[in-house]
Amino acid sequence: MTTRGRTITSRIRHWYGANPLHLLALLAAFALAGYAVRAVIAAGQFRGFALWFAVAIVGHDLLLFPLYSLADLSVQRLLPWGSSRKRTRPAPAGQVPGPPLINYVRIPAGFSLLLLLAFFPLILGLSEPEYHRASGLTTQPYLWRWLAVTGVLFAASAVSYALAWRRAAARARKQQAAAVAARTRAQQTPHAAPDVPSPVAPRATFDVWPPARQPHRPDSPDLR
């Protein structure tokens, strides 16, 4: 490129804020979209079209997103032993406390709500007249199916929670056994100098979940 060409490019870049190609590509995209919108106007359906475009964006960004975020935060706060930020449920002596419940609640709930979001016209029977006219069928079974699927999702979640708890308990028992073994070995070693501290394995604690299995790498920031 000549010096002169480069100056023009850099001047555009300064004035516009990006490479001139960026502008050209965007203008091409606007032209295509504008051409499609022209056809919508020609079909006399622009008002509804534009309204639904706007409602789709506002409905997601300013309604659906805040609602599900708020629901998620509320569940985290309200669950008795919700997330790793809280102490886990106090366990009776000799028992391992359960893992945080949060994901075992919000995942089946999220799946169920997504199904509702996608199929609410059938589940709530809102499209019954048109659906019946088209198919000769009724929307009635969909509510029961949705409830049944929701039930299955929560049941599966409960089973996997129980399994996760059992795995955690087994792990804790193993750690404890290893700690006891290490302590016994230390006491039985006759040549150990008295000023060397006995290598007691760290006691398994469950103030935070999951129980630490290995020390954090020093280079990674510790969030807790």
Partner: protein, 477 residues
């Protein structure tokens, strides 16, 4: 102990002295607070860019430790592939209606957007069925990915300052086409397959033109962001992420491109991330699981056979498995078909170089042929059936026009869309194209178009006209 001592000490002080002291202290605090506020306000007025308004504009409010360029890029690459398939299957579906034939075009204003159209073939006969099944099932399966992707980039909507250059203004406007387009297309498509016609426009018009607005936004977004996506994908190893449990899940590292791409607000990562409540692999598994759930509980209606029973939420899934029920999308009752319409007075008129009128008995006396062809609806469901009937090519010959350029098939149906369809020369000539009179070995049920309906290989369901009473063979299309 300390608190008790403090109370004792306070008790010894004189009451008015204490008040004076308290007043002075509060006045001083007030003064400091006010001057700090004034300083901040003046500063904000001088440099509004550094002082976002409260709420979502403050970066500190976005605290998920999982947001970051890598996560967004992984979701982006899934959508890049998925949305391309969705767009292509959708555009093919539009071509399947043969809009170039007179009378078929639901969207006559499309103009140049017709550029890619071609005469829709009759082979393979399963093409439309697969195309539309993929379009609907994949669309539903991508819904969780679209929502997750929007979640991952939502802080950018509230980036402060909102605009820094003309380039950025235009880029943000193009995002209206992208985000509005994807939400608009998903919403109209998902409502339409459930016959929930709440939109104030024609579905065909809006879903087609909405798709082009989306495609414009999508292409420009991919063009501008592809390098960023590649950077993001390279910043972490997927395999390692899939092995990282919650306890070792850390926020993403600062993105090297953050500063050079002139993106204010510091990209996608949270400024002050919380402790994670789910691992990255857990989140990806949840999104993938949701996709499989939505798609999996629908796809059976497109596969048919025993799989239809698994389609709990398909509009013609499990519900459509009652004995002797075959899916339809327009019942005889809904068009007000009367017994007289299809009784002994029924006549089929064929118009070519001569006009022939046939009674039902005469139609049944013509050579009958058997075919197995699917009927596949634009709403995604399909079913393969045995049909017998008279070849359209034979009827054309009967009307004195053995090689018509097109044929217009009309129904007894007086109201509603698709009461007429124009077939191409290839569709009329195909030996599998029938005017069918039986379905699965029984007389055509009334909901399926008794006394006669067309069945065309690979045509969209609504182009297989029901309750046919007139076929006009045309010399030129």
């Amino acid at each position: 102990m300390r608190r008790a001592a403090q109370i004792r000490r306070n008790g010894h002080q004189r009451r008015d002295g204490r008040r004076r002291h308290a007043l002075a202290a509060s006045a001083a605090a007030e003064y400091h607070r006010a001057s700090a506020l004034a300083r901040r306000a003046a500063d904000a007025a001088r440099h509004p860019a550094d002082h976002p308004p409260p709420g979502p504009f403050r970066p500190g409010i976005w605290r998920s430790p999982l947001r970051g360029l890598w996560l967004t890029s992984i979701l982006a690459v899934v959508l890049l592939a998925g949305l391309i398939v969705l767009a292509v299957t959708g555009l093919l579906s539009y071509a399947a209606y043969d809009p170039l034939l007179p009378g078929n075009d639901q969207t006559p204003g499309a103009g140049l957007l017709h550029f890619y159209l071609f005469s829709w073939p009759t082979h393979p006969s399963w093409l439309y069925r697969v195309d539309q099944g993929v379009h609907i099932t994949l669309g539903l399966a991508l819904l969780p990915v679209v929502l997750a992707k929007l979640w991952s980039v939502l802080p950018r909507l509230f980036a402060w300052p909102p605009v820094r250059s003309l380039a950025q203004i235009l880029e943000r406007v193009s995002l209206i086409m992208l985000v509005g387009g994807v939400l608009f297309e998903f919403a109209t498509g998902i409502l339409n397959i459930q016959n929930y016609y709440v939109f104030p426009f024609s579905f065909y018009t809006a879903h087609l033109y909405g798709a082009w607005v989306f495609i414009a936004g999508f292409v420009i977004h991919v063009a501008l962001k592809f390098p960023r996506m590649v950077t993001g994908l390279r910043s972490r190893r997927l395999r390692r992420e899939l092995r990282t449990p919650l306890a070792e899940t850390r926020p993403e590292e600062p993105d090297p491109g953050e500063t050079e791409t002139a993106e204010p607000g510091g990209g996608l990562r949270a400024a002050h991330p919380r402790a994670p409540t789910i691992s990255r692999r857990g989140l990806l598994a949840a999104i993938g699981g949701a996709s499989l759930t939505l798609g999996g509980l629908v796809v059976g209606q497109s596969i048919g056979g025993p799989a239809r029973r698994t389609s709990l939420f398909g509009p013609r899934g499990l519900s459509a498995t009652a004995p002797h029920y075959l899916p339809v999308n327009r019942t005889a009752a809904s068009i007000g078909l009367t017994a007289a319409d299809v009784g002994p007075g029924y006549r089929l008129t064929l118009i070519g170089t001569r006009t022939v009128t046939l009674t039902q008995a005469q139609l049944l006396a013509l050579p009958q042929h058997a075919v197995e062809l699917p009927i596949a609806c634009v709403e995604g469901w399909s079913v393969s059936c045995q049909w017998t009937g008279v070849r359209l090519a034979d009827l054309a010959r009967l009307a004195g026009m053995p090689d018509p350029a097109a044929a217009q098939v009309d129904s007894i149906q007086q109201v509603g869309a698709f009461k007429t369809a124009v077939l191409s020369a290839g569709q009329v000539a195909d030996p599998q194209s029938l005017l069918a009179v039986t379905l699965n070995g029984r007389v055509l049920p009334r909901d399926h178009g008794y006394p006669a309906r067309t069945i065309i290989p690979n045509a969209p369901g609504v182009h297989n006209t029901k309750w046919v009473n007139k076929i006009t063979f045309l010399k030129q299309a």
